[in-house]
C-alpha cells in the first residue's frame, strides 16, 4: 500500500519536472528558431530607422535604465532592510507598518507603478517621458523586492556572528558593516538579480514614463525605449514580427549573461 502511494507520488513529481522543463525548453527553442535567422548585423546599427529597426539604441537604453534604477533602489533598499533587521526593536509598530506596506507594494501590477510614475515623475515633477522618470518608477517598483530579499539575507546570518563581534567590543555599526553585511552578500545579490530581471523585462511601467523613442539618449531627460519596450512596440506595430523575435533572442542572452556574471561574483565574494 505504502509502496504504491510512494510510486504514484514519485510519478507525479517526475511528470511535473518533465513538463516544467519541457515547456521551458520549448519556449527557448521556439524563440531561438524564430529569432536567430533574423539576427542580422544591421539590427545592431548605431541608429534606428523605420526600414532598419536596429535594436542597438535599445540595448544601450536598457543598460542605462538598469544601472540608474539600481543606483537609486539599492541604497534605499539596503539601508531600509538594515534598519528593519538590525536596529529596530522587535515588535516595533513602525516596522510592522513598513513591512506590511512593502509586502503590499510587491504584489501590485507594474502598470499601476507606470500610472503613478506618469502622474508624479512625468507630469508633476515635469521630467517628461525620460530615462530619469522611467528609472525612478522602476526603482520604486523594485524597492520592495530589494528590501525583502535583503531582510531575508540579513536574518539568515547566524546570531552567533553578531554575538562574537559584540563580545569582542565591536559596536553595532562595525558589526553590521564588517560581519553581517559581507555574510549576507550572496542573498542580497540574489535579490538584485531578480530586480534586474524585472527591470529588463518591464514594459508596462515604462511606456508611459520613459516613452518609446528608439534613439540613443542625449541626457537623462531624453525619452528612451528599452529592449522589452522595443520588442513590444515592434510586435504591436505588426510590421516587424521577425525582428521582434530576434530582439527576444538578444533579451534572452542578456538575462542569461546577467545571471551567470552575478553568480560568479557571488561565488568570488563568499570565497576567501
Amino acid at each position: 500500500m505504502a509502496k504504491q502511494t510512494s510510486f504514484i507520488l514519485k510519478s507525479f513529481v517526475m511528470a511535473a519536472t518533465i513538463i516544467t522543463f519541457g515547456i521551458l525548453l520549448f519556449l527557448i527553442g521556439y524563440i531561438l528558431i524564430k529569432g536567430v535567422p533574423y539576427l542580422t548585423p544591421s539590427l545592431f546599427n548605431m541608429s534606428y530607422t523605420s526600414e532598419n529597426v536596429s535594436m542597438f539604441p535599445s540595448i544601450i537604453n536598457t543598460v542605462l535604465m538598469t544601472l540608474l534604477s539600481l543606483m537609486i533602489a539599492i541604497p534605499f533598499g539596503l539601508f531600509t532592510a538594515i534598519y528593519l533587521v538590525e536596529y529596530a526593536k522587535r515588535g516595533n509598530k513602525l516596522v510592522e507598518i513598513i513591512r506590511l506596506t512593502s509586502e503590499t507594494l510587491a504584489g501590485i501590477p507594474s502598470i499601476v507603478y507606470g500610472l503613478f510614475g506618469m502622474l508624479f515623475f512625468v507630469t508633476y515633477l515635469g521630467w517628461g517621458y525620460s530615462i530619469l522618470a522611467g528609472s525612478a518608477t522602476l526603482s520604486v517598483m523594485i524597492l520592495p523586492l530589494i528590501i525583502r530579499t535583503t531582510e531575508e539575507a540579513l536574518k539568515s546570518v547566524p546570531d552567533s556572528y553578531r554575538e562574537a563581534s559584540f563580545g569582542l567590543g565591536a559596536g553595532q555599526l562595525r558589526t553590521v558593516f564588517h560581519i553581517v553585511l559581507p555574510s549576507a552578500v550572496p542573498g542580497i545579490l540574489a535579490g538584485v538579480i531578480l530586480a534586474i530581471g524585472r527591470i529588463v523585462g518591464e514594459t508596462a511601467a515604462l511606456i508611459y514614463t520613459a516613452g518609446t523613442v528608439a534613439k540613443l539618449p542625449k541626457d537623462l531627460l531624453s525619452s528612451a525605449r528599452t529592449l522589452s519596450v522595443h520588442m513590444y512596440t515592434l510586435s504591436s506595430e505588426g510590421f516587424h514580427t521577425n525582428e521582434a523575435f530576434a530582439t527576444a533572442v538578444v533579451l534572452l542572452i542578456i538575462v542569461l549573461l546577467i545571471n551567470t556574471v552575478s553568480m560568479v561574483i557571488a561565488r568570488k565574494v563568499t570565497k576567501i
Binding site: 552567533s160 562574537a164 563580545g167 559596536g171
Partner: protein
C-alpha cells in the same frame, strides 16, 4: 594576592516576567579560575553574560543590583564596548567568522583601532601561540577558519578573545562540543592562562571543574546554593542539594 576582581551584589535578572537570577552575591578573585556548575537552565550562562553585558542584546531582559569590576559599576557610566574588551568571552559553540584565521584573530585589535600591519602580525602570532594552536595553523593563517576541526576552532576562538588583551575571560562550556583530546588541550590552556587572567568557566563536567578551578559555585533555579573552594565543595559539600548534584543523584 586574593584581590577582588569582580564583586556581584544583589543581582536580580528577569527575562520578561521570568526571574532567571535571584539575589546573586559573590566575589570573583583575580588570577583564579572560578567554575559555575549546576543543572541546565539554572542561570549559569545568564550570570556569565551579565558580567560583560551581553544581556543588553536581549530586549526584554531587566537587571538590578550591582556588579563591580575593579570597583567600578559596569551598569553605570561605562563604555560597553570597552567593558567587553576588558571582559572577553568564549562561547559554547565555536563561532568564528567566515573569514581567514588571521582576520578572525585580528578583528578585535582592528576594532580597537590598531591598523599597523606589523603590530597586527605580532598580536595574531602571540595570541595563537598563547592559545596553543600556532604550530597547527601557522602555515595556513590566511585560509578560511571554518575548515578547521571543532577543537581547533575553539582554540582560535580563545586566541581571538585573547587578542584584545582582556583582563577577565568568560568561558561558557568551552569544551562541551569537543572530543577528549581537544578537551584536555583546552583545560591545560586554561590552567596556563590563569597567571595572567581572571577566568570564569561554566561546565557540566564535574571532573573538569575539579581539574581546573580554584573556586566553584553551584547554581540551582537561579540561586547560588554553595560557593566555596573547589576542593572543599567537592570533598565536603555543605548543602544536601550540592551533594546530590555532584554525586550524580540529581534529576
Amino acid at each position: 594576592m586574593n584581590k577582588e576582581k569582580i564583586k556581584i551584589t544583589g543581582i536580580d535578572l528577569y527575562y520578561g516576567d521570568f526571574q532567571a537570577l535571584k539575589n546573586i552575591n559573590m566575589i570573583l578573585p583575580q588570577n583564579k579560575i572560578t567554575a559555575f556548575i549546576g543543572p541546565s537552565g539554572c542561570g549559569k550562562t545568564t550570570l556569565l553574560k551579565s558580567l560583560n553585558r551581553m544581556n543588553d542584546l536581549i530586549s526584554d531582559c531587566r537587571i538590578s543590583g550591582e556588579i563591580l569590576l575593579d570597583g567600578q559599576n559596569i551598569y553605570e557610566n561605562i563604555d560597553v564596548n570597552l567593558l567587553r574588551k576588558r571582559v572577553g568571552m568564549v562561547f559554547q559553540k565555536p563561532n568564528l567568522f567566515p573569514m581567514s584565521i588571521y582576520d578572525n584573530v585580528a578583528y578585535g585589535p582592528r576594532t580597537h583601532g590598531i591598523r599597523s600591519k606589523v603590530m597586527l602580525d605580532e598580536i595574531v602570532e602571540k595570541s595563537l601561540v598563547r592559545a596553543v594552536i600556532w604550530d597547527e595553523v601557522k602555515d595556513r593563517i590566511k585560509k578560511s577558519a571554518l575548515s578547521l576541526s571543532g577543537g581547533q576552532q575553539q582554540r582560535i576562538c580563545i586566541a581571538r578573545a585573547l587578542a584584545v588583551e582582556p583582563e577577565v575571560l568568560l568561558m561558557d562550556e568551552p569544551t562541551s562540543a569537543l572530543d577528549p583530546v581537544s578537551t584536555s588541550k583546552i583545560e591545560e590552556l586554561v590552567l596556563e592562562l590563569k597567571n595572567d587572567y581572571t577566568i570564569i568557566i561554566v561546565t557540566h563536567n564535574m571532573q573538569q571543574a575539579v581539574r581546573v578551578s580554584d573556586k566553584t559555585a553551584f547554581f540551582l533555579l537561579g540561586e547560588i546554593v554553595e560557593y566555596r573552594d573547589t576542593e572543599s565543595i567537592f570533598s565536603m559539600p555543605e548543602d544536601k542539594r550540592t551533594e546530590d548534584y555532584i554525586t550524580g543523584r540529581f534529576g
